[in-house]
């Protein structure tokens, strides 16, 4: 699998049931190991749908998803894909499954067949990596929004993904946690695909930029984005 991309989409189509036209209409995309890609676009243009199709959570109505050059169709094939690709959901509360932090972060490693002691070790390392040492026995529902986000990230990183998909990772994060997130991503080996409206953040963590127009993935020039990002000192305001 020497030069096959880590994750690729070939002519992906997806239409929601009863929808007039498909959200994704022939999307081609490839993510190489270590690559940093940013994806932006208006609400409802299909960004989250694209990520869900990539992970096999939504079945593509056409085209195929390839992981390390091999097409994934069945649940078992997507299981292999999910071992290698981590997906951070937009809302942390959707992703935290257990009452205590360590149990939650160790959930993935345990699913991968690690022994409890090894899984706990992986979980501790992942927590330390995101800067949450000492949080092991904390109750998840008592955490702040930013801490919850970091716990979910640790849960994904504990599985050592080769690629990481982030869906609006900075939505409702305070500047401090946002800064920590940038720092964490800088020190990560994995390829990262970030979906965000937060131009500054996207610019900090990505080298290539795409948007979705009319159900197709369109590459945007990075320089243009630079200019754009600097032209608006308040990136959260619509333009």
């Amino acid at each position: 699998m020497s030069d096959a991309p880590l994750l690729a989409l070939r002519h992906i189509r997806y239409a929601y049931p009863l929808a007039q036209r498909p959200v994704l209409d022939g999307v081609d995309f490839a993510l190489a190991p270590g690559e940093r890609v940013g994806l932006f676009g208006p609400n409802g243009c299909g960004k989250t749908t694209l990520l869900s199709v990539m992970m096999g959570l939504l079945p593509a109505t056409g085209g195929e998803v390839l992981f390390q050059g091999r097409p994934a169709h069945t649940e078992a094939e997507f299981f292999a894909l999910r071992r290698g690709v981590g997906f951070l959901l937009q809302h942390a509360d959707d992703q935290i499954l257990f009452p205590t932090v360590l149990d939650d972060v160790a959930f993935g490693p345990l699913n991968l067949g690690l022994k409890p002691a090894e899984a706990a070790c992986e979980a501790r390392e992942a927590l330390a990596f995101v800067g949450l040492q000492g949080f092991e026995d904390r109750l998840t529902h008592r955490l702040s929004g930013g801490e919850k986000k970091l716990v979910t990230l640790a849960g994904v990183l504990a599985m050592h993904p080769k690629a990481l998909l982030l869906d609006e990772p900075t939505a409702s994060l305070d500047p401090d946690t946002r800064h920590r997130l940038v720092h964490i991503l800088e020190h990560l080996d994995a390829a990262v695909l970030t979906v965000s409206h937060d131009w500054d953040f996207l610019n900090l963590v990505s080298n290539d930029f795409y948007t979705i127009e009319g159900g197709k993935l369109v590459r945007e020039a990075a320089a243009e984005l630079h200019w754009h990002a600097h032209a608006h000192p308040h990136p959260e305001q619509p333009h």
């Binding site: 360590l102 345990l110 699913n111």
Partner: protein, 254 residues
């Protein structure tokens, strides 16, 4: 919403392996539930109170403890209103048009003793562990995995769903909603509850996806390693001996 006021402490009952406590509490409750006479439940109530004191609950979280017992006995009070007058048997007292029977009163006493005995045992044995350890202990005791999941997820998500409900009610209040006895109120409340339900279903869907994303494949690992030490064995032996005594009392119909 579910705060665990009894789970923190340093007594033996707090430290003991929750599997031993679960087993003891479950066995004793079953024996008590089928008891036909008041002697065994009375003895168990005494034992329950001793366990409560042993766990140090009345001292450290007395208010919460009494509130729990009061809540249960609120239900029991209803039984006292109906049971004495609806059970056939010898007349014990006459209150206006109603006749209380000896058998009815005995039944009410029996139910009261059983309820409080089981409640005290559960508070002392089960409530002294946190929900996460209890779930894992149930898993180790080979309780059906679906039940364990249901238990752990209820604990995990009841706060989230509760928050959602509170947010919706605050949103309604902010737009001038005051509950009254009116059709508008009922419609609004029904709608808010429906929204909570829809939100919970969406959440359930997302949770399933989140589990798939982290390679869940149906079986359920756990980090905790429990250890049955000498203390646990002594405790289990004592509980077994006590269970045999209770059973003997019941069989002999004392």
């Amino acid at each position: 919403m579910i705060d665990e006021p009894f789970a923190s402490g340093s007594s033996f009952l707090h430290r003991a392996d929750p599997r031993a406590k679960l087993t003891a509490a479950a066995a004793l409750s079953c024996i008590l539930a089928v008891s036909p006479s008041p002697a065994a439940p009375a003895l168990a109530l005494l034992a329950g109170l001793v366990c409560l004191a042993w766990a140090g609950l009345p001292k450290h979280s007395g208010r919460a403890l009494w509130r729990r017992l009061l809540a249960v006995n609120g239900f029991v009070a209803f039984l006292w209103v109906f049971l004495p007058f609806s059970t056939p048997g010898e007349t014990a007292a006459i209150l206006g048009p109603f006749t209380a029977t000896r058998q009815g009163l005995a039944l009410a006493v029996l139910v009261t003793l059983k309820t409080n005995a089981i409640m005290c045992l559960f508070l002392a044995l089960i409530a002294t562990s946190d929900a996460a350890s209890l779930g894992q202990a149930m898993h180790r005791l080979r309780v059906a995995p679906k039940l364990v999941f249901l238990f752990l997820f209820t604990y995990r998500f009841i706060h989230v769903i509760g928050d959602e409900q509170r947010r919706l009610f605050i949103a309604a209040k902010l737009r001038g909603f005051t509950p009254r006895t009116s059709l508008h109120t009922y419609k609004t409340l029904a709608s808010l509850l429906a929204m909570v339900l829809v939100g919970a279903m969406r959440r359930a869907d997302m949770t399933r996806q989140a589990m798939l994303l982290r390679c869940f494949h149906g079986s359920f690992g756990t980090l905790r390693s429990f250890r049955l030490g000498r203390g646990e064995y002594a405790f289990l032996t004592a509980a077994a001996f006590f269970a045999i005594c209770l059973s003997a009392l019941e069989v002999l119909h004392v």
